[in-house]
């Protein structure tokens, strides 16, 4: 069964460093999302992406964040200058056109020290 994959599974970085989180959505999906989940809290929407541009973004998704689909398979989230409060699980999701169902990857745990 096709699935969303994410790498790395765990990333440790120092405050102020740039990180890139990678996702490979399900191959025929065209809509992509990033969410985050701070430990013990609810999942929060960050950004949605379609046709090589951002469709929606939340207040969390400020100028420190960017997304890119550098090739036909990868979808990346970049945090330019990480802060302690960026420590969280980051989940990528994808869906088919005309279909509400979003399928999630296993997540990347980001730890900022």
């Amino acid at each position: 069964e096709p699935e969303v994959t994410q790498t790395p599974s765990h990333q440790v970085t120092q405050m102020g460093q740039e990180v890139i989180l990678r996702c490979v959505p399900i191959s025929n999906h065209l809509y992509f999302y990033w969410y985050r989940q701070i430990l013990g809290q609810k999942v929060e929407f960050l950004v949605s992406f379609y046709n090589n541009e951002i469709s929606e973004k939340s207040e969390i998704f400020d100028d420190q964040f960017s997304v890119e689909r550098p090739d036909g398979s990868n979808f990346t989230l970049k945090i330019r200058s990480t802060k302690l409060e960026d420590s969280a699980m980051y989940f990528c999701a994808s869906r088919l056109p005309m279909n509400y169902e979003q399928y999630f990857g296993p997540g990347t745990r980001l730890t900022v020290t």
């Binding site: 609810k42 999942v43 929060e44 929407f45 989940f91 169902e101 979003q102 999630f104």
Partner: protein, 113 residues
């Protein structure tokens, strides 16, 4: 108005019993209501979902009840099993906001053998 309120925060049910988790929303534009199951260290997995044109949807032991006038929906797990022990999240989305998921706070369910 974008919030989804979920209760209870935690729930302990005996094996074989019925687990019930409730959610309420404000935004009448929401038109898709999924439930996700999350095991520790894993990404959320879509369990079951409902659209507002029906009042109930059943898949195996899992049932969603939907009350459009009250803006409430609930998840019922019949014959609860220890393997159902997980955190359950309700969510809501609308086509008008590119189907970004707005999440409840989660319910930690423990099924006692």
């Amino acid at each position: 108005q974008q919030q989804v309120k979920q209760s209870p925060q935690s729930l302990i049910v005996q094996k074989g019993g019925i687990s019930i988790i409730n959610c309420a929303y404000e935004n009448t534009a929401f038109d898709y209501f999924p439930w996700y199951q999350q095991f520790p260290g894993k990404g959320p997995a879509l369990l079951i979902a409902i659209r507002p044109d029906v009042s109930e949807k059943k898949e195996g032991r899992f049932t969603i009840s939907f009350n459009k006038s009250a803006k409430q929906f609930s998840l019922h797990i019949m014959d609860s099993q220890p393997g159902d022990s997980a955190t359950y999240f309700c969510a809501a989305s609308s086509s008008g906001s590119n189907y970004q998921l707005i999440w409840g706070a989660g319910t930690k369910l423990i099924i006692k053998p």
